[in-house]
Structures are given as structure tokens and as C-alpha cells.
């Protein structure tokens, strides 16, 4: 065992697992948790589809059905789609930029625990028949105190609080890690595409999430202490909710989608054995998408009777976002046409599936963005079709591509190619059978969120078909789970770089050691492992007696100083438990804000307070900035 092994190792057993601040262990947990929520939310969908397979069906009554679709949407959006992308980023980004951990390791742990407890709360209240019932976007006045009595909507609003805080924490991690902890020589123009995508996503999270946090807080206070934000009788406004929610809600779907774009920009070039075409264009496209996405939200409100001039503006913006999205697609196709012929394997199959499915979703998105067309299509099954085409085609398919691609790196074992193909084809065919008919159902007048419909409506046939497709999708997920379990038990071992890919994450063992790299490489290219003499140099002299990382400069990735990272600790878990008590307490009483803050304060102090032992170890290796300046050491010194 080297010094690095000792310093970075977690304590064995349960305590070590609970106290770990290793970004990889936390990320794996995070990913697995989101997949459990994904499976649960998917099961809810299967129940809904079973109910809708026949006209006038009585398998599920309106009360349960309304909870089912509200939980399905809320769990998929808040407990799966955003968190899984962040979790994958929290695993990969430190490896991709060549550092040993994220910028704030304990905060990382805290973010995961908070997310977990929020998710547990949601499914628990659902199991107790007090789950949210007003849809994943919870419009007022339906979700307000008068029309949604009880605590159901309050639990929904707190689900928001839990997951948005966790997402904001993840976003700050990613920004600071990408900005300040890149390996020497990795200027921003050499940053991997996935890291760019996550950087852009993190900024979107920072600016979008506060809106829904404030909105959900206003909803809670309207319900709990009689504020009047959304009550027209007392100067409030029902559309205020919609504006505040969708100002977050539209960027939210790009928060889910942009990471997937980053994944494709990693996987596709690796399979085409070619550097991605149009790196600069792709980065500019990502940034444009992020900016534009904040200017579209009113397209969710086209039928509320807004002034026509406003609607025209949002139509143009909604349609024009197809332009940077299109640029991405053109660059990828150019990468394929100018690269080596692709060797088909599960990851690239899912990428190809993305093209087939997402482009349809993008087209229907342009239709929905046109305010005139939207007058017919809004709130019908056409929208249900569209949103699943873009979310599943545009995010879940790339995610599954990513799972199959990075699984060997994460676990050291290669997923079965045979099961992967079954997974892909069942998913691809099942998805289209399930969701394509819904375009037609929407045009045939079927509204969203109906627990049943009459035989006379003529909607039964297509609904039955959709249900069959849904079960196929369910089967494909089962195949995936089997693949993962069997592979973990006895799959083939993977080497460092099974795909022959160029990124830094492939320059270390599979799975990586706790400290990621034995030696931090110096980077001189966008595709480091495809360069002839990689690495040109490695970093030496990082203290190893405590966890340390190299902090580099934002604009030129030159070494700046060494950051001493905190050791593993149980405080983040305790703080998350205290926060959970605070959040759940405020569902029942506003006073919880006061007494609930006390344990939170105590645990945060415990977390932050340095131990004498750690202080001593830090002082042993301490080099003060003034001393370093006096010795005129600005950068590290290259030596042959």
C-alpha cells in the first residue's frame, strides 16, 4: 500500500461507508438510488397504462390515478432525471479533468443524503395514500389550500426543496471543480465535451432552481400560514405560479438534456475513432441552448389568454432553439462520416437510438412552440408523446449509452453485449409502440391526465397499443437490471481503456483507486490518450499525508496552490438528518423553522469545526502564501 492508498482509504465497514467523501463512492450510490426511483416511477406508469388500456376501466379510481401521475412525473423529473445526470457528472468530471476529488467533498456527501431522504419521504407518503395529487407542476388554485386539503401538496412542495438544494449543491461542486481543479495544461479549450456540458448545466441549475424554490415556498405559506400570493380575491394571481414555475421548468428540461448531449459528444467520437468535429461550435451551441432556454417559458402558457405580441416572441424563441440543437446533430453526423466506420456495440446503439427518437421529439417540439398550433396540441396526449420523445430519446437513451460505456470504468467489469442488445431493441421498439400512438390520440382530442375515457371516444385501440409498448419498455429495464447484476457477479474484467477512447478517465485503472490517478498528468491536447507521447509530464510534489489536490488557474490551467481537503466524516449525514427534520417539520408547522434550525446549526458547526488532529497534520505541511511568494515560486517547475 502506498502512502496515497493509506491517506485516501475509507475506514472499513458501515461507518466508513457512511462517512466517505470519495466522490466515486458517493456517485455510485447516487446513481443506484436514482435508478431505483426510475424503476419505481416506471412501475407507476405501468399501473396507469393498465388502467388506460380499456375504456371505462375501474382498476384504478380517480384519487389513486391522480396520485399515480403526479408521483410518476415528480419522481421522474426530480428524483431521477436531474439527479442521475448530476451523479454521473460527480463521478466522471474529477476523472475527466484529472483531479482527485470534487472541490467540496463533505458537501457532496451531504447533497446525496439530502436527496435520498427527500426521495424516501416522497415514496413513503405515497405509500400512505397522502402522495401529491395535483400533477408534477401543481397548478394553483387546484394545489392551493382551498382545493387540495390535507398535506399532500405540502409534501410535494418539500420534495422540491430537498431535491433542489441537492441539485444546487451538485451544481456548485461541478462549477468549482471544472474551473479550479483541472490538470495542468488543460485549458478550457481542451476541456472534455462532457465537462463543458456539465459546466453549462450547472449554471442553468444555479439560475433556474431558485425560481421553483421560491414558488414552492410561496405555495407552502399560502397553505400553511394563509399568505395570499396566488389568491385573486386578495391581490394574488394564479398565473404568478405558472410564470415562476415555468421560468424554472423550461430550463429544467434542458438541465436534463444538456448532460446527455455531453455524453454523446464523448461516446460518438470514441466509436468513430475521430476527434469530434466542430468542438468550438458544439461548445457555443451548448451555451446558446442554455441562454435561450431561459427565454422560452411562456410557451407552456400559450392558452392562458396572453397578449399576442408576447406569444409571438416566445414562439420565435421556442422555434429558434432548434438551431443550436441542430448544429450539435450536424457536427456529430460529420464526425461519423469523416471518422472510422463504427464498430457496433451497445453504447453506440443507444446513441443511434437517440438520433431516431430525439429528432422526432425535436420536430414535435417545434410544432408545440408555434403558438397557433399549440392551441390544439397543448394539454393533450400529443404533449405526452412529445415530452417522452425528447426526455427518453434525448436523455434516457444517451444515459443508457453512457451506462454501458462507462460501466467498465466504474466497476472494472464489462456488461454483456448480448443482454445489451436485447435491452436496446426492447427499449427502442417498445418505446415507439408506446408513445407514437399518443401523437394521434392527442390530435383525436384526448386530453392529458384523465383516469379513464368512454368507449364512444374511439380512443381505446391506440391506448391498448400504447400499453403493450409500455410493458415492452418495462421488460427492457428488467433486462438491464439482470445485465448489471449478472455482470457484477461474474462479468468479464475490463482493462483501463476497453473502448480505446481519448479521455483522461481512461488513463487510470478500472475501477480507479480512491485517489483517481497515481500521478496527475500534464495535458497538452483535447484527446490526451490519442496523442503519441502521453503524458508529456506528470505532477510531482503533492503532499500525500493528507488528502490534497492541485488547484490551477482558471484562464490557463497553470498550478496555483495545493488545497488540503477535509477527511471523511459522519457530520454530513447528521446534518442531512437534521435538515430532513427541519423540512418535514415545516410541512406541519411554521414553528419548525425555528426549532428545526437548532439541530441543523449544531451539525453544521460540528462539520465545520476542525479537529485538533487534522489541524496538526495540516500545519505540518503548511506553506503560507507569503512564504511561497518570497521564494518567488509562481508556478510549478518543470524538470527533465
Amino acid at each position: 500500500m502506498s502512502q496515497l492508498d493509506c491517506t485516501w482509504a475509507d475506514s472499513p465497514g458501515l461507518v466508513g461507508a457512511l462517512a466517505t467523501v470519495d466522490h466515486k463512492r458517493i456517485a455510485i450510490r447516487y446513481i443506484v438510488t436514482t435508478l431505483v426511483f426510475f424503476a419505481l416511477a416506471g412501475l407507476l406508469a405501468l399501473v396507469m397504462r393498465t388502467q388506460l388500456a380499456r375504456a371505462d376501466n375501474d382498476l384504478v379510481g380517480p384519487d389513486l390515478y391522480n396520485q399515480l401521475f403526479s408521483m410518476h412525473g415528480s419522481a421522474m423529473m426530480f428524483l431521477f432525471a436531474v439527479p442521475v445526470m448530476e451523479a454521473v457528472a460527480l463521478y466522471l468530471v474529477p476523472l475527466m479533468v484529472g483531479t482527485r476529488n470534487v472541490a467540496f467533498p463533505r458537501l457532496n456527501a451531504y447533497g446525496y443524503w439530502l436527496f435520498l431522504f427527500g426521495g424516501l419521504m416522497s415514496f413513503t407518503v405515497f405509500a400512505l395514500n397522502i402522495g401529491p395529487e395535483a400533477g408534477w407542476f401543481s397548478y394553483v388554485p387546484l394545489a392551493g389550500p382551498q382545493y387540495s386539503p390535507g398535506k399532500r401538496t405540502d409534501f410535494w412542495a418539500q420534495l422540491i426543496t430537498f431535491t433542489e438544494v441537492a441539485a444546487l449543491i451538485g451544481a456548485v461542486q461541478i462549477i468549482v471543480t471544472v474551473f479550479k481543479m483541472r490538470a495542468p495544461g488543460m485549458t478550457l479549450s481542451r476541456l472534455p465535451m462532457f465537462a463543458w456540458a456539465m459546466l453549462v448545466t450547472a449554471f442553468m441549475i444555479v439560475f433556474a432552481m431558485p425560481s421553483v424554490m421560491l414558488a414552492s415556498t410561496f405555495l407552502i405559506t399560502d397553505r400553511l400560514v394563509s399568505t395570499q400570493f396566488f389568491n385573486p380575491a386578495e391581490g394574488g394571481d394564479v398565473l404568478l405560479w405558472q410564470h415562476m414555475f415555468w421560468f424554472f421548468g423550461h430550463p429544467e428540461v434542458y438541465i436534463i438534456f444538456v448532460p446527455a448531449l455531453g455524453m454523446i459528444s464523448e461516446i460518438l467520437p470514441a466509436f468513430a475513432r475521430r476527434r469530434v468535429v466542430g468542438y468550438l461550435g458544439l461548445v457555443i451551441a451548448l451555451v446558446s441552448i442554455a441562454f435561450l432556454s431561459f427565454g422560452l417559458w411562456v410557451h407552456h402558457m400559450f392558452t392562458t389568454g396572453l397578449p399576442p405580441l408576447g406569444m409571438s416572441f416566445f414562439t420565435v424563441a421556442s422555434i429558434m432553439i432548434a438551431l443550436p440543437t441542430g448544429l450539435q446533430i450536424f457536427c456529430w453526423i460529420a464526425t461519423l462520416t469523416t471518422g472510422q466506420p463504427v464498430r457496433f456495440a451497445t453504447p453506440i446503439l443507444f446513441v443511434i437510438g437517440f438520433f431516431f427518437i430525439f429528432v422526432i421529439g425535436g420536430m414535435t417540439g417545434v410544432m408545440l412552440g408555434a403558438s397557433t398550433l399549440d392551441q390544439q396540441l397543448h394539454d393533450s396526449y400529443f404533449v405526452v408523446a412529445h415530452l417522452h420523445y425528447v426526455l427518453i430519446g434525448g436523455a434516457v437513451f444517451p444515459l443508457f449509452a453512457g451506462f454501458h460505456y462507462w460501466f467498465p470504468k466504474i466497476t472494472g467489469r464489462q456488461l454483456s453485449e448480448r443482454l445489451g442488445r436485447w435491452n436496446f431493441w426492447l427499449f427502442f421498439i417498445g418505446f415507439n409502440v408506446a408513445f407514437f400512438p399518443m401523437h394521434i390520440l392527442g390530435l383525436e382530442g384526448m386530453p392529458r391526465r384523465v383516469y379513464t375515457y368512454s368507449a364512444a371516444s374511439g380512443w381505446e385501440g391506440l391506448n391498448l397499443l400504447a400499453t403493450l409498448g409500455a410493458f415492452m419498455v418495462g421488460a427492457s429495464v428488467l433486462v438491464f437490471i439482470c445485465n448489471v447484476v449478472l455482470t457484477l457477479l461474474r462479468g468479464t474484467r475490463a482493462g483501463d481503456n476497453p473502448w480505446g477512447a481519448p479521455g483522461l478517465e481512461w488513463a487510470t485503472a478500472s475501477p480507479p483507486p480512491a485517489y483517481n490517478f497515481s500521478d496527475i498528468p500534464v495535458v497538452q491536447s483535447r484527446s490526451p490518450l490519442w496523442e503519441e507521447n502521453f503524458p508529456v509530464a506528470t505532477v510531482a510534489g503533492l503532499p500525500e499525508s493528507v488528502p490534497t489536490v492541485l488547484v490551477t488557474r482558471l484562464h490557463d490551467a497553470q498550478p496555483d496552490h495545493v488545497a488540503l481537503l477535509p477527511a471523511a466524516s459522519l457530520w454530513p449525514l447528521l446534518a442531512a438528518l437534521a435538515t430532513t427534520v427541519l423540512f418535514i417539520g415545516t410541512v406541519f408547522s411554521p414553528w419548525a423553522l425555528i426549532w428545526g434550525s437548532v439541530p441543523v446549526g449544531i451539525t453544521l458547526i460540528g462539520w465545520f469545526w476542525p479537529t485538533a488532529d487534522e489541524a496538526r497534520r495540516h500545519r505540518e505541511i503548511e506553506i503560507r502564501p507569503r512564504e511561497a511568494e518570497q521564494r518567488e515560486v509562481a508556478f510549478g517547475e518543470l524538470s527533465a
Binding site: 392562458t304 448544429l327 464526425t335 462520416t337 466506420p341 397557433t372 382530442g445
Partner: protein, 312 residues
Amino acid sequence: MNHTALAPGGPFAERIVDLFWLFGVVAGVVYLIVIGFLVYGLRRRPAGTEPVMAPVSATTLRAIGVALGVTGIVLVGLAFSDFLGNRALAHVPPDALRIRVTAHQWWWEIEYQDPLVTRRVMTANQLTLPTGRPVVLELGSRDVIHSFWVPSLQGKKDLLPGYTTTLALLATRAGDYTGECAEFCGFQHAHMSLDVAAVPPDEFARWLDVQRAAAAEPETDLQRRGREVFLTSSCRACHAVQGTIAAARLGPDLTHVGSRPRIAAGTLPNNSTNMAAWIANPQAFKPGARMPASPLASDDLGALSAYLGSLQ
């Protein structure tokens, strides 16, 4: 049931479906082109061993530029066609028939407007429209947000508490159409349908005269007994029948309920058996509906149903 956006019964829906086909054809062509290039990129060809490190050729970059430019032009064209469509839909001639629609959980209150209050017509869950004459709906809600949607005639419009929105309708093809509530509004959002009948103008005038008249006098003993039951039990607390002392507005107006094709906002076809079953236990058909069960003896129930059926 006629509730498809693809078979329009009037110019507004026609305009929208034309736009849909334009977008759809463009989408189809673009999709085939993109997939075509994708397949071309995946085609089998001799492979090298090393990754391609050469910079991308100027031709390829130009091709991407052209694709981007063409995409931009197409998108601008589509946006412009939508803008034109918007303008066309916004134009409503001044002599429109005005109808006030108020949404409730879970039924539609309909009031045909007139400068003279006594000539106004109150009905529920049903619209009869004259063909060829524009109609303007003034939309509002008593409780939560709903959305009025008759796909064969027009796009939809939300009904919001605290606001009045408007929607123009124009039926040029006579026929029966169906509408739905298109904004999730609680338990029985799925059972908030309305029946729209587009009829020639003279037939419409006749219909309006009949609707303006007070409730028909019962002709048989059974119907008389039914009116007795109606006026002495809890029905009066929520429902009005013009010409009797029942004048409450909490539930749908029943003055001409016998002439409606369906009852309970489209939950059941309108016949005497269904009417009796509905009154006896609304929760069996529409759980969560605001109407309580009626503890009536079965022959009273039959009489009541006969009376209501006679209110044509």
C-alpha cells in the same frame, strides 16, 4: 363522437390543421434527410487502425454551415407561418353571438348573452351554435383552472379564476361535436365533457326560443309526481328550473335538461334509466362529484326521472 382536430368543422380549426400539415411535411422531409445522413455515416467501409487525428476538412465545415443556414431559413419560415396563423385566428367580426361559459368542478355553466336580461338563456354542458355565424365565448372559472376545448372547431382556451378570457368559434359544417376540459382540474377532470351541436341558423333561432321559454308543464301523472318530488327534496338547493320556485345556481340549470344528449357533463347518455341511476348515487359514476346521493324511494326516483326527461 366528433372530437378530432384533423377533421375541422370550421375555419379556425381548418387554419390550425393546415399549419399542422405544413409543419408535419417539413418535419418529415427534414427527418428523412437527417436519418439519411446518419445512415451514410454508419455505412460499412474499410477501417484504419489509428484514430483520425486530422483536422476536419473545409468542405465538411462548409456543409455544416450550409445545413445550419438551411435550418435557420426553414425555422424562420415556420415561425412566420405561425405568426400569420395567429393573426388569422385573432380576427373576429363584430356581430358575433356572445356566450358566457363558466367552468366549475366538474361541469360547464353556459349562458347565452343578450342585452335584455330576460332573453338570456342558461344551460349546462351543451352548446348549440348557428352555422356560418361567428361566436365569441367569454370564459371564466368559479374555482380552479379549466380549459375549454372543442378540437373540431378551434384550439383551446383556459378558464382562470380572476381573469376573463375569450375564444372565438365558427362552425361552417353542421354536425355534432364533442368538447373536453383540457386542464387538470381535480378528481373528475376526466368527466367534464360537453356536447356541441352546429345547426342551420333558422333551426338555431327555433332552439333559442324553446330554451328561452320556461319549463314545460308536466303532462302525465307520473311527471307531475316527479315535479312534486323535485320541488320537495334537496334538488332545489342546487338546481334551477325556470317557471318553478327552484332558482339555485350551484349546479347545472335543469330547465331543458331532457333535451341534452348526455348528463353529468358527458358521463352518461341521457335516458330515464341513467337519469334515475345518476340521481340515486352520483358517486357510483363520478366519484368525487359535488352532488350527494339522494335517499329517494325507487318509485319517486322513477317519477323524478320521468319529469326531468319531459323538460325538453
